[in-house]
Structures are given as C-alpha cells and as structure tokens.
C-alpha cells in the first residue's frame, strides 16, 4: 500500500509541471505563437469567474441558511430510525447529508468527529472515506453549469444525488469490510 501511494504521489508531482511546461514547449515546436495564444485564452478567465458568481451565490446562501436553521438536527432525528433498519450508523448521518451540500462544512464535520470519537474510530474512517470519495455536488453544478449559463439542469441534480447516496452507503459498507 505504501509503495503504491508513493508511486502515485510521485507521479502526481509531474502532472502539473508537464502541463505547465509541456504545453508551451510543444506549441513552440509546432510553431504556434505561444505567448499570443496564451494571452488570448487567458482573457476568458475573468469573464468565466464573473459568470459563475450568481450561480454560486444562489446555491451557497440557500445552503448556508439551511445549515444555520437547525434543520439538519431535525432531519437527522427523522431519518435515524429509517436508516437504522439498513444498518447505517446514526453518527454518520450529518456527514452524509452535508457532503453534497458544502465542502468546507463536511471538512469541519470530519474534524469534529475526530475530536468526538478519536482518530482510530471506525466512524471517523467512514466519514473520511465519504469525504474522499465524492465531490460537493451542488458546488460542481453551480460552477460547471454557471460557467456556460445553463439554468435548466435537467437530471443533473437527480444523477448527482443518486451517486452521493450510493457513495455514502458504500463508504460505510467498504470501511466495515476493511476494518469491521
């Protein structure tokens, strides 16, 4: 495991430099006016960022309100008995809910769980796997669709949330398999 991780992280050191140096170098080789091309492309950066703002603000403020309202605690109480039936630990429910909503919120929750249950606890492992194995769906939707001005997202949310639910259940199950 150690060596695999080392090999991968060693490789990942080179991916970024390869892009940063390799692209202009290859462009030069192909007689592309690299500086002009770069500036031409980079011009878009500001517009794209500005285009994302309304989408990101819309998503983030609604989620922040939801988190601040105490709805999470109520939701946890309602869902707990249901999830108990399929063997999903109650301790993991807040993490499962917040993972798709907020990246910083779920990171804070991992810290909170480390403090509460200890680093070696199986709950912390499950939470960490949950954190590492999925992205913040609502953030991805806001940024990717916001950048091109897509307002009607069709089945994007449904697909993203299905994957999130699956990832949450799988994290619990896979960690039990490894450390149970």
């Amino acid at each position: 495991m150690e060596t695999v991780r080392d090999a991968i992280s060693l490789l990942s050191y080179f991916v970024l430099p390869l892009i940063l140096v390799g692209f202009p170098l290859y462009g030069l080789f192909k007689r592309v006016p690299v500086y002009e091309s770069f500036v031409e492309g980079a011009k878009e950066g500001f517009q794209v960022a500005v285009r994302i703002i309304p989408y990101l603000v819309a998503i983030l403020f609604a989620i922040a309100m939801f988190r601040g309202s105490g709805a999470m605690e109520a939701l946890t109480q309602v869902l707990n008995p249901v999830l108990g039936l399929i063997g999903f630990p109650a301790e993991l429910l807040p993490m499962a809910i917040i993972r798709s909503l907020s990246g910083s919120g779920s990171a804070a929750l991992v810290v909170d769980m480390i403090n509460r249950y200890g680093e070696d606890s199986i709950f912390v492992k499950m939470a960490a796997v949950m954190f590492g194995s999925s992205e913040t769906t609502f953030y991805v939707i806001a940024v990717y669709f916001g950048a091109i001005g897509i307002k009607r997202t069709r089945h994007a949310i449904a697909a993203g949330l299905t994957a999130d639910v699956a990832a949450a259940l799988l994290s619990v199950w896979v960690v039990r398999l490894f450390f149970g």
Binding site: I63, S69, A128, K151, I157, A163
Partner: protein
Amino acid sequence: MLNYIWAGLIISSFLFAIGYDIRDISGDKYRNGQPLLLELAFPEGYDSAARRVAVEIRIAPDQYASFYRTDQAPAPSYPGYLLQTKEGTQLRFAAGSKLPEPLATIGKVSSSRDGELQGLLTGFTPPGGTAGVVFEPVRFVKLNAIASAALDFAKTGAEIALGLVGVLSLFLGLLKIAEDSGIVFALVKLVRPILRPLFPEVPADHPALGMIALNLTATLFGLGNAATPFGIKAMEELQKLNKSEDTATNSMVMLMAINTAGIQLVPPVLLLALMGTQVNTLIFPILITSVLGMIVAIVAARLLGRLPGYRGSDPNRKA
C-alpha cells in the same frame, strides 16, 4: 428540479428557524428579564465613586443549572468589571470569557461594543456578595442566524468565484496553446475509444473529448486547481454542440455526474491535513468507493436521461 430543491432549502430553513425560536420562547430558554444570581468579589477593593471597578464573578454551578435548566457548567470564576453610571450599574464579563450555553448565545445579543457580555446589575449591596444580573432579552436567535448566514455566504460565493480568476486565466491560456498546437486533437484520438460510449452526442473528432480527458486526468491526480478550469472548458465545448442556450444536454449531465463522483488516486490534500498519515490506510477504501460511486453516477445519468420527462427536455433530441 433545482427550482424546487432551492426553494425548498430556503423555505424549510425559515420554517425550522421559526419553529426552534418559538420553542425557545415558549420554554423560556433564555430566562429573559429574570435575574441570574451570582457572587461578586472585588480583588482591588470596592470604590463606589469609581466609574469602573474590577470584579471577580462566580456563578454556583447548581444555581446555574437549575436557572437555565441545562447540564452545562460555568467556569469557577470570570474576570470582569462594574461600570457605574447614574442610570445604574452594568456588569461586564471580560471579552473572550469561555461562557457556557446559553450564556454564550446571550453574549452575542447582550454585549458591549467590545464584545463583552453585559447585563444590568440588580440587588447589589456594596461591598459585594450576592447580586443578580439581568441581560438584554434574547429572541429569535435562529431567525437572526439564517439571515446573517445568507449575507455571509453571498459574500463567500463572490469571493470564491473571483478567487478563481487567476487560476482560470492560467489554465485557459495553457489550453488555448494546447488547442492551437494540436495537443487536444491528439488527445481526442487517444481517449476516443473510452469516452465515446459515455458521450455519444459528441462527434468523434470534437475537441470536447480532449478537454474532458484533461479534466478527468487532473481530477484523478488530485489537481483540483487544474480540474475546474479543464471541466469548465469541456463544458464550453459541449455548449457549442448544444442547440439550446440555457438547457443542459445529456453529455453535460454525464460530465457533471462523473465529476461529482470525484474519483482520485491520491487522497485529497485536505484529508491528509486533517487526519495525518492515517489516511494511508484509507486509500483503497476511498478508491473502491469512488470507483463504485462513479459507476452509479454514470448509470444514473444515462438511465435518468431516458425518463420521458427528461428525454422531452433534451435540447438535442431528434424530432
């Protein structure tokens, strides 16, 4: 669907906030208007003529527990001072005091300009001993909290987006070189056999496939900074194939779904920072979970797209 989820988040936060606040009011959680009994001691002596007198505040734990009906306990003593004016005597807890709930919450409402918990002193007879303190009434805490959370995160949203400007410019610039020099086209040929089945709408030699490949590579190696601009560029390419201006195509949903699964060979840097080397034991569980999660995401994106409602709204459907 996003319309309903979005409105649902806002409406339910209002309902929950008001529900919790009404419960707090009817349960008299903050004992508004009633004096909390405490002991005052004057380490530097009491001077009735002084405007400001240093004081040591002690709250008996059982007294505190029965007054606020809580199991939280106050510290043995708190530093503070009295502010004596013609209108009455204010008791102020030193700023930064570690207060138990619900005093901590009260401190957010009933505080001086310097963030000190303050209240009006009653039943105080010099030089010291038992006295009562009445704080500003605390009402609708949650309602205030959701309003300020909304304002805070509106700001955060703009900051995150604007914070992307530099990195976006860098990678969009590099991508332009990659396009002009033919790297993207070479990449398209390379990944076509893998990606084509997932994105059947995209023509075989379209640069979108190359951008998607770069996006997935960056994600795979945990390079979030690069993955986002690549993903955005891929979306822009897909948008060129879109007949509608504001409706997502099946390919866009597929790309989004693969990205939310967030498959990574290296564990997120953030997780490493939080948990330390413990993360090493979790690499394989994370990898297995995210691969399976990605399969679910792909299948869900594909199958949901076939539902009559979503098929009807497909901007690229064949008439």
